[in-house]
Every structure is written in C-alpha cells, then in structure tokens.
C-alpha cells in the first residue's frame, strides 16, 4: 500500500473506486479543412446544448440555472458563426471551434471581474464542442452509476456545482489550491477532498483508494484493516474536535493565539468567518505580482481595506512585499541572480526601492484607519538589528504603531536579543528558517529530509529566537507550516512562542492539542525534541509523551 500527499481541503474519510473525469481533447495539429465543416460545427454545438439541457431536469435549482446558462452559450450565434467563418477560411473544424472560443475568452478576460469568471464557462462549452466534432467522449464528469471517488485534473465550476452528492464519495484533483473553486464547494457539500495531488494523473478508473481529507493524504489500494482504522480515527477526531472552539490556550490557561495564514481577499473573507483570533501572516505579493506597473496607493489601500474588514477587533499581521529574482516584479526587476534565495529579496529589495515600501506602508495606514482591524506590519528577510531599526522607523513614520520582523535568517534568530529590541514583535518563518539553517534549497525536492521542521538544529535556532524575544519582553510567533502540526505546535508553545499562524483548516487540531497539555508539559516536550539526535527521533519522542487522547486522533 502506498500513501501519497496532497492538500486536504475538505475533512473526512472516503473510500471507493476511482472514476476519472474526462480530460478535454485538443484539436489535432495541422488539422485539415473539411468541406462539410459548417454542418458539422452546427451539429456539434447543438449536441452540446441538448446534452446540457437534458441534464437540467436531473439536478437542483442552482445547478440547473448554471447548466441552462451554459447551454445558452452553446447556442450562441456569435460563437457558432465565428467558428464557421474560421472553417471557411481554411481551419479544420475542431481548430475553428477552438479559435472562436479563445477569441471570446480573451475578450472576457480583458473585461475582468465577473466576465473573466464567465471565460471558464466558455472554455467548457468550447471543449465539449471540440470533443463532439471530433467524435471523442465529452469532457467532464461521466454519468455515475455507483458511488465513487472522482479524480480530475481540475473541476470546472459547472461540474462541481452539479455533482450528485449521493454518488460522489470524495474528490481528488491534480491542480487547484486551498481556495480553488473545487475546495470551497467540496467543503460546503461536505465531500472529503484532496487537491494538488501530483499522482492524480496516474489513478486509473476502478483503482481502489481512500481519501483522508484532514491529513491531505490518499491511500492507494488500502487494506480493509487500514480503512476501518481510519474510519474509526476519523470518527474519534470529529468527536474530539466538536468542542474545541474559541481562543487557544494550554490546559492551565496560558494563552497561545491561533491565527490564519492568508494570501488574498478571498482567503480573508473565508478566514474572517472561521474560528480564529486573527491573521498571523497576510502575504501581500498578489497585489504586486500580477501588475505590469507599480500599484498606486489608492489601489492598494482598497485591497487592504477589503482584507482587513472581516477582522474588526482582531489582529492582522501584514508582511510587506516579499519578492526576489525567483518571482520578479515587472516594475522592479533587479536582474537575474545566481542564488535567488540568498539574493536581493524581501527587505533587501525594499532597501533598493524604498518608494515601493513607502507606497505600501501609506496604503496600509489608510486601510487600517478605515477599518477596526488591529494592523501589525512586519518585514521579510531581516538579517540584523540595523535592518530591523531601518524598517521600524519607516513603518512608524507612516503612522502604523506595531512593527515587527520575520525571523527566517538564522543570524536574526541567534542575535534576537538585539534585533527584537528594535521592534514590537517577531514571527518565525520556519520554512525559510529551515532552508537557511540546513543550507538546503526549498525548491530541491530531493532535500526534503534536511528541510524537516523537526530537525533538532532548526529547533535550536527557534529556541534562540524565542529566548531573545523573551529577554526583551516581546512576543514571538510562528507563521510557517510547522505551526499547523499539532505535535510541533506543543513544542513551539514550550519554546515560548505566543502565537501560531496556519492554514485555517489546521486550527481545530492545534487548539485541541494545546488544550490537552499544561505549559510545563509543553516545555518538557520541547526539551525532549531538542535532545533528540534526528528529526524522526524528535517527533517520536514527542508523540510518545503527548496526551494519549491526542495521539489517538493523529
């Protein structure tokens, strides 16, 4: 039996046989023109429209209106005439349909917003018509006879909305992310789902798999015993987490704030509605990366306002622009670098282009004033106390009272005593901290073991940062992925971290883990982990000594 890892986006255990969602067929290269192209193109669109309309009667209201609207696109004279005109000037029938579809998709995409979303519906219609004209099976979800696990590259909105809940036990996709359409709808429909699973393309029809939506794992050909075990554990977990709500704290009442990591307005709205105490990491790159020119203060302020709005009375920690040679900005490209991870990135780019930082800080200040959120601002890639002081002055000059630094360079962690004296708070970025401590590139899949957050050396560096913050009476949090691991969360709390920021889906488990241990127990677990010789030993030691009711649901 093999277990493969994706991202769990909808909790629960599902077990069954794979049914693959048909992938779109592409028009053949150099497809020859056809004399009968016009009638074939008309027939193809008509069969797509009537097929969609036939399904309308079988589904619920929302799904029916999505299908009706999609069928209307398949009957659209502009699309059909556009395809026929392309065929008349020599394109093959499938190529003509593809060309006409793309032409309108581009127009929709250029209009943005609502229209850009409709481009996906148009793509769906185009793909169906291409398959029809080529005599290939229709892309999308086939008619489902038996309950099954759906496996797709990605699901179109119309497909996800029209899924038959009684037939779809679980969903696996190769693409997508935590906030993709599939993720949101699957969670709403309470169908266990794992997205971004690279192995999804290798799962054939009929393969028996088990989805663990909490862990983001997919078990291939699991034994009946494994399935039973996971089902029982899933039920235990659901029972345990049912009452795990509210602010985070240890069994003896030491507070550890539970915060969300977000990367955009959609994330903010979702996290704002969740049981979290605020945002521990708001990545602002999306504001800049898609833009051909530097976004204006007004444009930025409007986006930040939308992000802050759901968090009235709660904390939102903003990380200022974190770009570098590996994700260059169109308007601030400093050129290629041999080692982007060690180059002019994060705060170093801001030092080179202080105008970008000042505009961002001004926009954050405006948005903070318009909302009731408690806005904290921190810089990425801070190496020493001088850089921390330079950043802190700029932030305070912009009227933002609470300033901090990311601790992701070991130098800043080792000298935290001086670095933390310059600012109000620190936040450990454990992914980069591991990369720089172990000298192992995060982009190198083969080095994953060195990047294990349980590496005792990484824990030593974390301990040094937390100790330096403690000596200054300043809070030190964690916003890397390790904060979302319930066992690691106990260690981090024991090392003195006072907030943990993670994907919102991880919060309930971490909250439960903290609530089952006293602070003294966390300190002891941290000591055990740091005393271990290897990452595996460190985790095993903590697992062996943690509360049995936590171990039972991991």
């Amino acid at each position: 039996m093999t277990v493969v890892q994706g991202i769990g986006v909808s909790a629960g255990i599902a077990f069954g046989a794979v049914v693959r969602v048909g992938r779109a067929v592409r028009p053949p290269d150099n497809e020859p023109a056809a004399d009968d192209a016009e009638p074939r193109i008309r027939e193809a669109f008509e069969s797509v429209a009537s097929d969609l309309e036939a399904r309308v009667a079988l589904v619920e209201d929302t799904a029916a209106s999505i299908l009706t609207a999609t069928a209307m696109l398949a009957r659209d004279p502009s699309l059909i005439d556009g395809a026929i005109a392309r065929a008349a000037s020599g394109a093959g029938p499938a190529t003509a349909i593809d060309g006409a579809t793309r032409e309108f998709m581009d127009q929709f995409a250029a209009l943005g917003g609502y229209f850009a979303e409709r481009a996906t519906d148009l793509r769906d219609v185009g793909d169906r018509a291409i398959a029809a004209v080529m005599g290939a099976p229709a892309p999308g979800v086939p008619a489902l006879e038996e309950p099954c696990i759906l496996v797709a590259h990605d699901l179109a909105p119309a497909e996800t909305a029209t899924l038959d809940r009684t037939k779809v036990l679980g969903i696996i996709t190769e693409a997508g992310g935590r906030t993709s359409h599939t993720a949101i709808l699957a969670a709403q429909m309470a169908i266990p789902a794992v997205v971004k699973l690279p192995e999804a393309s290798e799962l054939a029809d009929g393969r028996i798999v088990m989805i663990d939506g909490d862990a983001g794992a997919v078990h291939l050909d699991p034994s009946p015993a494994t399935v039973t075990e996971h089902r029982e554990r899933g039920a235990r977990r659901a029972r345990a987490l049912e009452h795990a709500t509210g602010p985070g704290s240890t069994l003896d009442g030491k507070q550890v704030k539970l915060l969300a990591n977000i990367g955009g307005v959609d994330d903010a709205v979702a996290a704002g509605a969740a049981d979290v105490e605020g945002v521990g990491l708001f990545r602002t790159e999306f504001v800049f990366l898609s833009s051909p020119t530097a976004p204006t203060v007004d444009d930025q302020a409007e986006i930040y306002r939308q992000v802050f709005e759901p968090f009235e009375g709660r904390r939102v920690v903003v990380r200022t622009l974190d770009a570098g040679a590996d994700k260059p900005l169109a308007f601030a490209d400093l050129g290629a670098e041999e080692n982007p991870a060690l180059g002019r990135r994060g705060l170093r780019l801001s030092a080179e282009r202080p105008d970008l930082l000042d505009a961002q800080l001004e926009a954050l200040s405006v948005a903070a004033g318009q909302t009731g959120a408690d806005v904290w601002v921190m810089a990425p890639m801070v190496a020493d106390a001088q850089e921390a002081a330079w950043f802190a002055r700029r932030v305070r000059e912009n009227g933002l009272p609470t300033v901090g630094v990311m601790i992701e360079i070991p130098a800043a962690a080792l000298r935290a005593g001086h670095v933390m004296a310059e600012v109000d708070f620190g936040s450990l970025g454990t992914n980069d901290l591991a990369q720089y401590t172990m000298a192992a590139d995060r982009m190198q899949g083969e080095l994953a073991e060195l990047l294990d957050p349980w590496q005792p050396a990484v824990l030593d560096v974390v301990a040094s940062a937390a100790e330096g913050a403690g000596r200054n009476g300043k809070p030190m949090g964690v916003c890397g992925e390790s904060a979302g691991d319930p066992l690691m969360a106990l260690v981090l709390a024991g090392l003195g971290c006072s907030s943990l920021s993670m994907a919102p889906s991880r919060v309930a488990m971490v909250r439960f883990a903290l609530s089952r241990h006293t602070f003294a127990q966390c300190v002891r677990l941290a000591h055990l982990a740091r005393s271990a010789r290897t990452p595996a030993d460190a985790r095993a030691a903590v697992l062996a000594e943690c509360a049995p009711d936590l171990a039972a649901i991991l």
Binding site: A69, M72, D76, P77, S78, L79, Q107, F108, L111
Partner: protein
C-alpha cells in the same frame, strides 16, 4: 434602417440577468437586430457572448438598429427594456 439610442438602465450594467432577458427578447423579435456602443461596431443582439463582450455599464449609451417590416415596434420594445433596471425587478 431604423435606430434607437438609449442609456442602459440596469444598475449592474448589461450582463448577468439583464443581458439574458435582453438576448432572449432580441431572439424572439423575428428579425435581425444589432446593438452598438458609442463609437463601437454593431454586434448581433441575439448573442449572449457578443452582448457580454460589449461590456456596457449602467448609463452607457447604446444604439439599436434593425431593418424590415415591424422594425419600429421591435426597436421600441427592446429600447424600453434596456432603459429599465432589469436587475431590480423580481424574477418571474
């Protein structure tokens, strides 16, 4: 060729439900009708895609055109439809 020039009355502009209602009415008209934004080229009024790609917002002025028997009546009723706030009206 008869024409009518009106401002879009729907607060959301000519897309979503208002566009669907307009496209349906134009399709039922029985003769070809075109619609153009000021300074733009005319597109078929019975095409949802063309109407959406037009991107007409609330207050934008558009010109309807048609030719043949009954064109005047058809244009009158379509123009009247465009001037209403179709999004504010309850779905039937």
């Amino acid at each position: 060729m008869s024409t009518r020039t009106v401002a879009i009355g729907s607060s959301v502009g000519l897309h979503a439900r208002p566009a669907a209602l307009f496209v349906k009415a134009a399709g039922d008209a029985g003769l070809p009708v075109t619609i153009a934004k000021e300074g733009g080229s005319p597109v078929p009024a019975n095409s949802m895609i063309a109407i959406m790609a037009l991107g007409a917002k609330h207050g934008d002025r558009v010109t309807l055109a048609a030719e043949g028997e009954g064109a005047e009546e058809v244009l009158d009723s379509l123009a009247e439809l465009l001037e209403r706030d179709l999004d504010a009206e309850p779905a039937s």
